[in-house]
């Protein structure tokens, strides 16, 4: 079975966001970029499925030249092949999904993993959109996965619990933290990754349906009150919550 993993290259979550000169995106200067944290669970799951059922894995990334760093990391963890759909411009989720879907089709992959969301735009929709474009089934926000033959049993996280979903291949699975423990790349893996070829391609074009007009910082919070240093401050805290904030 051919298994595709879609990963994205994003600012580290510890990054402070500074708005760039265009006023519509972040200033990338001084920002450390990493593999999207949820994509690590996607890679691990792809590797586990391959170990169990056999097949071949391919990582697909839409992004600029710098994304190669993230692709190398995926290869070092054990992914077999890599494709970079090279595009430095902003694309909305639909446009990203269209490009990924075209390449997944081209690769003939019938099982696709990706993180449930990327930690930059936080949309949490590229997986579902990619599946729709391909006509695949999709389970999002997955924390447990079993594949037997053509059948998929996946648990997805919902408010206050989990849904256990039964569906069939071909499918897109989006990974949530808790699905597995991503492995570390071995030294051997890192060395091998350096030698692997990253195939560069032009992604299919698709029109954005969203336009970013401006990026702004949230209004700063007013400094609050320090009410006290021990339990004697508790009655005053409760009074404030009741009378001033009116939240209890």
């Amino acid at each position: 079975m051919k298994i595709a993993v879609c990963v994205s290259h994003v600012p580290d979550t510890a990054t402070k966001i500074v708005i760039g000169p265009d006023g519509k995106s972040i200033d990338p200067n001084g920002v450390t970029y990493v593999i999207n944290p949820y994509d690590e669970f996607a890679i691990e799951e792809a590797l586990k499925v391959k170990e169990k059922l056999g097949g071949e894995t391919v990582v697909i990334t839409l992004g600029g030249e710098a994304s190669k760093e993230t692709i190398r990391k995926s290869l070092a963890m054990g992914i077999d092949n890599a494709v970079l759909l090279k595009d430095e411009n902003f694309r909305d989720s639909f446009s990203v999904a269209s490009a990924l879907a075209a390449e997944i089709k081209n690769q003939n992959a019938e099982l696709v993993f990706m993180g449930k969301q990327s930690v930059d735009y936080d949309n949490s929709i590229v997986g579902q959109m990619t599946a729709e474009i391909l006509g695949y089934n999709c389970v999002s926000v997955v924390v447990d996965l079993k594949i037997e033959g053509n059948k998929i049993i996946a648990e997805r996280e919902i408010e206050g619990g989990k849904e256990v979903i039964e569906t069939t291949l071909p499918a897109v699975i989006t990974a949530q933290k808790g699905l597995n423990e991503p492995r570390y790349a071995s030294l051997k893996g890192i060395m091998a990754a350096k030698k692997k070829n990253i195939e560069e391609k032009q992604p299919v074009a698709a029109n954005n349906k969203l336009e970013i007009l401006a990026m702004k910082k949230p209004a700063p919070k007013q400094p609050g009150k320090i009410i006290g240093t021990d339990a004697s401050a508790v009655p005053e805290l409760v009074r404030l919550l009741k009378e001033e904030a009116k939240v209890i």
Binding site: E132, S140, G160, G224, P235, V247
Partner: protein
Amino acid sequence: MANKILAFIEQRSGQIKKSSFEAAKLASSLAEKLNGIAEAITIGNEIQDLPKIGNYGIQKVTHYINKELENYSASAYRNITAKHFTENNFDILIFANTALGKDLAPRVAVKTEAGIAMDCVEFNYNNQEIVVTRPVYAGKSLIDIKITSDKKIFTLRPNVFAAGTPSNNNAEVIQINVDNPNLADRVIELKKAEGKLDVAEADIIVSGGRGLKAPENFKMVEDLAAVLGAATGASRAVVDAGWRPHSEQVGQTGKTVSPSLYIALGISGAIQHLAGMRSSKYIVAINKDKDAPIFQVADYGIVGDVFDVVPALIEELKKVKG
């Protein structure tokens, strides 16, 4: 100009979700603003109190009914919603940004060629054009966006848009029987975390961090949450340490929350945590370290030992709440 607006009403186990009332209310106020009309759609088996959607300004609810649709099925819900949206010539579709909304809305968007803006926290109008604001980078920044396609789908962050005081108007409910739902995916089991409120929906959240020192001390967090009718949350550090389940994690790789009250116990406030909870209406921090970044976002702080302050807080709240 957009003028037909549809609100998606979500049910689980036959109960309408609170955030769906917010979607209904927003749809009806959008209709007022844009001089249009607002209706609602819901999918499920038996649903309680459907006419109450009218309390939030919606005149007509279409209920697609079938026993097999009681639980969510992405394929069936997508087919029904997309068909209803297109065939009735709606221009705008509003969902709550819940687990179901996030899963379903993008599928309907692809199916109907609609543009989609997720997790909106603000609606503005520029010459009858809708400009929405949504958080990015887990709320470290915001973007203003507009959808350029004719059909538009928005999902609303729960707890941000007030449903307002319900009126006494009942909506007309039109039932449409779905003969063959054709489920390509189905829920075969629903695992409920018994008696637990989820942080994503809770109006009050009590969260604990490393300052709690050991997993058993989260009993204190749970006790405080119980007094307040709150959900329990956790910082990434304690989730990674295996003290608490990931479903409770608040922050950039956990859940982004906007309750009316967020109480942070023994949480220092790493940038990723602050990103996930800073839009809470009121924040209370109890922490020993006076320089902890959590105090920069807290409305009320006690610089003190959680083991001293929290038991006293539980007692005081019991008194006040009677």
